[in-house]
Structures are given as structure tokens and as C-alpha cells.
Symmetry: C2
């Protein structure tokens, strides 16, 4: 590629009027299960912004629903799990999944790959810790207190749950790669709630099972979490080729932490997009310069696009990154 | 002191049945303005747990209300500001405060100091960034997008607001020290939303105005925020004698970052208190050991006590810290 590649986490989503229109009256889970909608929504930001990658429109809980978990995604709240996981018998309720359980994803990926041509499609899945947190808390959390209580107090149950989740995630990502996804991103969105010691003991082995399990798939593996300043070294050991970094850690420092054999992805603060353009430009150029010290840099935000973001700013940012990084 | 001192952020609060009882039917702001209630609530955890310090029962927005801001503390939500700050004229609405504006605090501190005898009372205030975030967002936030938009896009307005807030905070803490508080803690609870560069440029000068402004008060100054792994070096330069650290950064590493002339405070994960006692004990001993490498260590949690915490675990933890650290 003649320039630094750029895409945005949550590039497909509420920041786009065409997304709000197509989703009107259709629930989130339903949208994720309709290949026509997934394809259209995934393509919208590619058409509008000219980003260098598409990312499969999905939700972190889609494979959990496919595994038999009774859950819903409630507008304004997030995933709500009917019966949170408390015991071994609850883990047994989580069925292993195969491609047959997520036919709609297989189909959407095939349609997307055909439409996208040379533009890669990034596969999407949540990592075991983040999935476990939803299943244990019953929904989004700020403290992860039930999740941590299980992690600390019932390590056998915790490991059984996360091992099952790793298998589900692996099957979900393998389905996407088999259908033609050219890369995968494993989101451990909430791992930043942990210390490095706890992450290494209770989380890293399970994330590693997913990422190392994809080694033979032959596609780049991206691994991302928010607030991971103290975890970057450990996340760099999980088996990814690219480590995503939020805005708190400059990319030159992040590159040292994740290891010089890996690329970094990130890390413009999504809140910067609400500032005047000269601030956006200065911050984007700083990110490019800091990312330039890594063996590879994929430009992105440090977290997902916020719903109220002006999409024109994103389009302009893509142009800036392409121009400013042309070699 | 013959052992490592220990107290807990939010030790006075919903984890205690006697607190829930005394607060029954009384709003948060009203409670903070009644010296009898403030005194009783502040003393409750001292009596029950035998902690080595009391911390004034208050809320981060109390001085803002005293400065004329129309706000309320809504149960389950947090502070809600009627007219969020958008312009210079809104900053002008924030009056400077004097001890006369917070007579109830002056009175409560005097009563407490008399009751507490040799046990120090820690004064309480929020730092400019965190206060500004409530005033700009209009309430609690997960993204701080309006706050950051002002910080990036309207730096003159941002600095005027934070300078005013620094003055208010300074007056609020000076009132407490004048009435006998033996230490102060400046909470920049949400500073962890920022990169180090943004913190240094937009926040540090204002926090420093407060902390350095108290240098002549002759009491230890504690400075704390959550998720501050990348900020500890800068926070160590703000003028505090003790830097509070959340559970994500081990205290031995934190001690290096904040500077060898400062003590550290922390940092047991409050979620650990929901684990079996043997886990609590092992983690507490680890924190003591790591804190032992700093020039001084005040044992605390890495964030506030969570409402559902079993208070007996806190009492047992105080005993453990006292026994395990007796020199």
C-alpha cells in the first residue's frame, strides 16, 4: 500500500445517516443476522469515507446468542443477558458453535468479499474476558465486580467459562476467515479493568488460545482493548500480529511495549473529532509520526467512532491520512 | 505510627448499614450540608473499622453548589447540572467562595476534629478537571466528549473555567484545613480519560495551582485519580506529598513514576473484597510488600469502597494491615 492504511472502529454505525435509516425499526441482533443488511451496513463507510478496510458489522454477543445464550441488545443499555452465569451448569448451557450456527455470517462475509474486491474485510469477535464479563454481570458494567469475584474466587469455573468462550470465538472467527475475511480483530474491549498480573494469570491464556489458534489461517490478527497501558506488553504476547492501542499511550511507546515484531493500530482520541479541524489535523499528524516508529502502523481511532461524530470529519481524516502518509 | 496507616476511599457510605439508616429519606446534598450528619457519617467507619484516618463526608460537587451552580445529586445517576457550561458567561456564573459559603463544612470539621482526637481528618475536594467534566457534560460521562471538545477547541474558555475551579477548590480545602483537617485529598477521579500530553497541557497547571497553593498549610496533600497509569509521573509533579494509585499499577512501579520523594497510597482492587478471604489476604499482603519499596505507604483501595461490600471484610482487612505491617 502506498500510504498508511486507515479504518475506524465502529465506522459502520450510528455516525452515518444512511445507517440510522437502514436500521430504523430493526433490532440490533436482527440486523446482525440478516446478510443483506450486514453487507449494506458494512459497505456504507467504505463507500462514504474511502477507508482501506471494511469491518464486518456484527456485535460482540452474536456468537453467544448462536451458542444458545438468551440475550438481547437493548438500545441505550447494551447487551442484557437473561440468566447470568453463576455455576458450572450455566457454562454447560453454552454450546460449542460451528459455521452452521452462524450461516448468516458466513453468507454476509461471502457477499462482502465479492463486493469489496481488493479491499480487505476484517473479521470481528469479542475476546473471552469481555464476553465473560457480559455473561457474568448480565450486561454492561463499570466495575466488573461479579466478573472479578468469579475470577478470583472460583478460578476453575472462570477457566471453564473462558475456555468455552475461546472455542466459540475461535469457531466464529474461523467461519469468517473460511468465507474470505482477509484479517481478524479480537476485541477485548474491557480488559483494561485488570492489572497486568491478573491479565496474565486469568485472561491471556484464553485470548492466546483464540489468536494462536488462528495462526494457520494465514490472515493478520489484530488484538485491541481500551485502557490497556499496563497490559500492552502482555497483549503483545497473546499471538496477534497487530496490537490496537487507545489514545492514552503514544504509539512509539506502545511499539516498544508490544514488541518490535508487531505492528500497532490506532490511536487518535475519538473525542478529538469534535474539535476544530486544525486540532484534528495536528493530532492526526502526531499519531502518524509516532506510529512511524513501529514496524507497521494501521491508522485508527483509539476507540470506536462516537455516535454524534460528524461523518464528514471522518472522510476528511481519511484523505488527510492518505495524503500525509504517501511515500 | 507503628504500622502502615490504612483508610478507605468511600469508607463512609453505602457499604455501612448505619449509613443507609441515617441517610434514609435525606438527599445527598442535604446530608453534606448538615454538620451533625456529616460528623456522624464521617465517624461511622472510624468506630466500626478502626481505620487510621477519617475522611470528611462530602461530595465532589458541594463547593460547586456553594459557588452558585444549580445542581442536584440524583440517586443512581450522580450529579446533574441544570445548565451545563458552554460559554464565558457561564464561567462568570461560578462565584468565588469563602469559608462563609460553606459554614456547614467549617462547623462539621471543627466538631470532627474535637471528636477524633489524635486520629487525623482528611479534607476532601474534587480537582478542576473532574469538576469541569461534570459542569460541561451536565452529569457523569463515559466519554468526556464535550469536556475534551472544549479543552481542545476553546482552550481560553477551558483555562478560564479550570482556573476558577482551582480557586474554588483551594478555598474549599483551605476552609477545611483552617478548621483543623490534618491532611487533604484532591480527587481527580476522571483524569485517567486523558493522555499524558493532554494532562500536562490542559490539567496539570490547574491541579498544581490547588496543591501548590496549599503548600503553606502545613498538612500532607494527597492526589488521586483512577486509570492514571500513564499520568503518574505528571501527577507526581502536581505538588502532592502522596500520590494515590489505582490497582492497575503495582505500587513499586508507581513509586518510581511519582518520584522517590513522595509516598504512595493504595491500591487493593475494591473488587477483590468480593473474593474469599484468602484471596483478600494474599492480595493485601502483596500490596503491602509492593508499597514497602516506596518512601511512604498509606494502605487504601485502588478506588472507592463499592456499595455492596461486606463491611466485616473491611474491618478484618484493617486488622490484617495493622498486624502484618507492625514494625
Amino acid at each position: 500500500m502506498p500510504h498508511t492504511p486507515v479504518w475506524f472502529m465502529r465506522q459502520a454505525g450510528r455516525s452515518l445517516p444512511e445507517y440510522r435509516k437502514i436500521r430504523d425499526g430493526i433490532g440490533m441482533l436482527d440486523s446482525c443476522r440478516r446478510p443483506d443488511l450486514v453487507t449494506e451496513i458494512t459497505l456504507q463507510p467504505v463507500r462514504r469515507h474511502g477507508v482501506d478496510a471494511a469491518i464486518l458489522f456484527s456485535d460482540i454477543v452474536v456468537p453467544l446468542a448462536a451458542a444458545g445464550v438468551d440475550l438481547d441488545i437493548v438500545t441505550g443499555t447494551g447487551p442484557v443477558v437473561a440468566e447470568p452465569i453463576r455455576a458450572d451448569s450455566d457454562v454447560d448451557r453454552l454450546r460449542p458453535i460451528t459455521a452452521d450456527d452462524v450461516r448468516y455470517v458466513d453468507e454476509a462475509v461471502r457477499m462482502l468479499v465479492a463486493e469489496l474486491g481488493p479491499i480487505p474485510l476484517i473479521g470481528f469477535a469479542g475476546a473471552p474476558f469481555t464476553l465473560a464479563s457480559y455473561l457474568i454481570e448480565g450486561g454492561p458494567s463499570r466495575t466488573y465486580v461479579k466478573t472479578k469475584a468469579m475470577m478470583y474466587g472460583e478460578p476453575a469455573l472462570w477457566n471453564a467459562l473462558c475456555d468455552r468462550l475461546a472455542d466459540i470465538t475461535l469457531a466464529f472467527l474461523r467461519t469468517q476467515v473460511a468465507a474470505g475475511a482477509g484479517a481478524v480483530q479480537l476485541f477485548d474491549s474491557w480488559a483494561g479493568a485488570l492489572s497486568e498480573a491478573d491479565y496474565r494469570r486469568h485472561v491471556l491464556p484464553h485470548s492466546s488460545k483464540v489468536l494462536v489458534g488462528l495462526a494457520d489461517a494465514g490472515v493478520p490478527r489484530i488484538h485491541f482493548g481500551v485502557g490497556t497501558a499496563v497490559l500492552l506488553r502482555a497483549m503483545g504476547e497473546a499471538g496477534a500480529d497487530v496490537v490496537g492501542v487507545d489514545w492514552r499511550t503514544p504509539l512509539d511507546q506502545a511499539a516498544e511495549l508490544v514488541g518490535r515484531d508487531k505492528a500497532v493500530q490506532g490511536n487518535l482520541d475519538p473525542a478529538v473529532l469534535f474539535a476544530p479541524w486544525q486540532v484534528v489535523e495536528a493530532e492526526a499528524r502526531r499519531v502518524l509520526a509516532e506510529g512511524g516508529s513501529a514496524p507497521g502502523h494501521v491508522f485508527n481511532l483509539g476507540h470506536g467512532v462516537m455516535p454524534d461524530t460528524d461523518p464528514d470529519v471522518l472522510t476528511r481524516l481519511v484523505d488527510l491520512i492518505h495524503q500525509a502518509s504517501t511515500r
